[in-house]
């Protein structure tokens, strides 16, 4: 039967190469079996364990790359995976960034991963952009060399790289100094809330990538639906535009866990 795109079905592929940024942060390269736009993600399956969403952090030379950080059982198991191991890859899922005009690219923490592919894409399209990235500390700042080539500005909580401030501080200053059409953002939701506010104040468009608990990746199970509009982050997201963000009732609020219940507010 061939009524669906084969790439959307489960398909295992051997890891072609593992790039170790640190023992807790690695990139995994696979043969590229489908097209993907920046901001789109794949569901990555470790057979016998679980399957989780990961953004495409680059596509080049017929390879597709994802970059993961060890934060829990799944991502720690992923750190053990070697070239040659077969993992399942389904995708590409969701809607990514839709480049337009002069862009301000703002990332925080693991949210930097998809932005790497975004800037490569923007460069290829000769679209003008500036980059501001934040992390807790220098060791956690991903792809510093790569982003530096584009004149990225950095912010860390501890001042070990770039300025000692929040990345939203960098973004605000850049917006004051230069003119932009759109803010592209990916990172912790409080950061996104601040970017949305900034964009609203400045009258800029914004495209922000959200995270919600994902199970199916294909807009069916409902576990990733935002409150308010009910859009599926896996399908209509993860990147939402301004109008869509206005309809996210739980934007910046605690969202739902694997049972579908709202998580208690973080303390």
């Amino acid at each position: 039967m061939n009524s669906i795109l084969p790439s959307r079905a489960m398909r295992s592929l051997p890891i072609k190469q593992v790039v170790t940024h640190s023992p807790e942060l690695k990139s995994f390269l696979f043969e590229q079996t489908f097209e993907a736009e920046p901001g789109q993600f794949v569901m990555l399956w470790i057979p016998g364990l679980d399957e989780k969403p990961f953004s495409v952090s680059d596509v080049r030379d017929g390879w597709i790359e994802i970059t993961a950080k060890a934060v829990g059982p799944f991502s720690r198991a992923l750190m053990e995976c070697q070239a040659g191991d077969r993992l399942g890859l389904r995708g590409p899922f969701g809607r990514g960034f839709r480049p337009r005009g002069r862009g301000l690219v703002v990332g925080g923490g693991m949210g930097i991963a998809p932005l790497r592919y975004l800037v490569h894409w923007l460069e290829r399209d000769r679209a003008p952009f500036r980059v501001a990235l934040g992390a807790r500390t220098a060791a956690e700042m991903m792809f510093v060399g790569d982003f530096s080539r584009y004149g990225a500005e950095f912010a860390t909580d501890d001042g070990t790289l770039g300025r000692q401030c929040l990345v939203t501080g960098l973004a605000a200053r850049l917006c004051a100094d230069e003119s932009f059409d759109v803010i592209y953002g990916c990172g912790p939701e409080p950061m996104l809330v601040a970017l949305k506010k900034l964009a609203d104040e400045r009258g800029l468009d914004c495209q922000l990538s959200l995270e919600r608990h994902m199970k199916c990746g294909i807009g069916v199970c409902g576990s990733c639906c935002v409150d308010g509009s009910g859009l599926c982050i896996c399908r209509e997201g993860p990147v939402l535009d301004k109008a869509e963000l206005d309809q996210v009732a739980d934007f910046g609020l605690p969202h739902r866990d694997a049972t579908g219940a709202r998580k208690p507010p973080r303390t």
Binding site: I4, A9, M10, M43, W45, D50, D227, D257, A261
Partner: protein
């Protein structure tokens, strides 16, 4: 008059299309979104007494014939679900069906009592989920008498809220099960749940691709089985039927209606078609009625039950 309007168990629906349980059915927001996209009624994902995270992923996979899933009855528990129900009620007028599962008739009864207090339009009783075989579902759906016991327990507790029993095509005898459900007080029947179970193996790793290994098969692949099931049930009883299984276009929905369904469940089609599929099927149904000179769906319901020529 709206030619697509139907009634089931006294509930008026603007469209015969009902969002099937388990698809975009956990939150008030997603249910409302589907209602606005054109569903005549929406069904919540089955909920039990307490929260369950369900099986690990992969738990829903597309395959060329549709979907295969072993979500494992993840749900936030009945109390959280009732909050969603209240929120839905405040913001959306389309009828809401609440699906419940449990592991004993008594437990079904208790759950039904709690849910009925919140006054949903209908309680759907999931006796047929194949994904938690040893825990829930299998024993009831496979055994007509057990379906009867569950039905009685729910009816005794549901007060005025109508009750639909959701049957499986794997029932030993669908006709007999339907008759027993009716005798036990069911107000409607929903048929069918997923088929199988099935298994999809990733040949690259030689591993079952679902974490649960096996899962229920749904989507286009099961349409003929759903049509046959509805046909069989309609021959056996005169209860309203929510015919469900494999519907992704107006012709599919018409097959179920002609087999004898009063309303039509749509679940997996949301994968290929998005929530927009509800509007598209509605438009297709209207176009069919108009082209063939029918005033309402009632005129085509059960057409396939006729015998002989002409």
């Amino acid at each position: 008059m709206n030619p697509l309007a139907v009634q089931i168990a006294g509930i008026a629906l603007e469209s015969p299309l009902v969002l099937a349980s388990g698809v975009l059915g956990t939150t008030a927001s997603s249910l409302r979104r589907v209602a606005r996209a054109g569903a005549g009624a929406v069904t919540t994902k089955s909920c039990g007494r307490t929260a369950r995270p369900g099986h690990p992923a992969p738990c829903v996979l597309p395959w060329p014939g549709g979907l295969i899933n072993a979500v494992g009855l993840s749900n936030p528990g009945v109390e959280a679900e009732l909050e969603e129900l209240a929120e839905y009620r405040r913001t959306c007028a389309a009828p809401l069906f609440v699906s419940i599962f449990a592991d004993s008739p008594d437990e079904f009864g208790r759950l039904a009592r709690r849910v009925a207090e919140a006054q949903p339009d209908l309680i759907e009783v999931n006796v047929s989920c194949p994904n938690v075989e040893s825990e829930f579902g299998a024993p009831f759906a496979a055994d007509p008498e057990a379906c009867g016991r569950v039905t009685r327990a729910v009816k005794e507790n549901a007060g005025a809220v109508p009750v639909s029993i959701k049957l499986s095509a794997q029932c030993a005898s669908l006709a007999r099960t339907a008759v027993i459900c009716r005798q036990s007080g069911a107000d409607a029947l929903t048929a069918i749940n997923t088929v199988g179970p099935g298994m999809w193996i990733d040949v690259g790793t030689g591993r079952p691709a679902l974490a649960n290994k096996v899962g229920g098969v749904s989507g286009p692949a099961i349409l003929p089985i759903a049509v046959r099931a509805v046909y069989e049930i309609r021959k056996a009883v005169d209860l309203p039927i929510i015919g469900t299984g494999g519907v992704s276009c107006a012709e599919d929905a018409l097959q179920l209606i002609m087999a004898g369904a009063d309303a039509v469940g749509v679940g997996s089609a949301v994968y290929a078609g998005g929530v927009e599929v509800f509007g598209e099927i509605n438009r297709g149904l209207s176009a069919f009625l108009k082209e063939r000179g029918f005033d309402s769906l009632a005129q085509v319901k059960g057409l396939a039950q006729r015998e002989g020529r002409a």
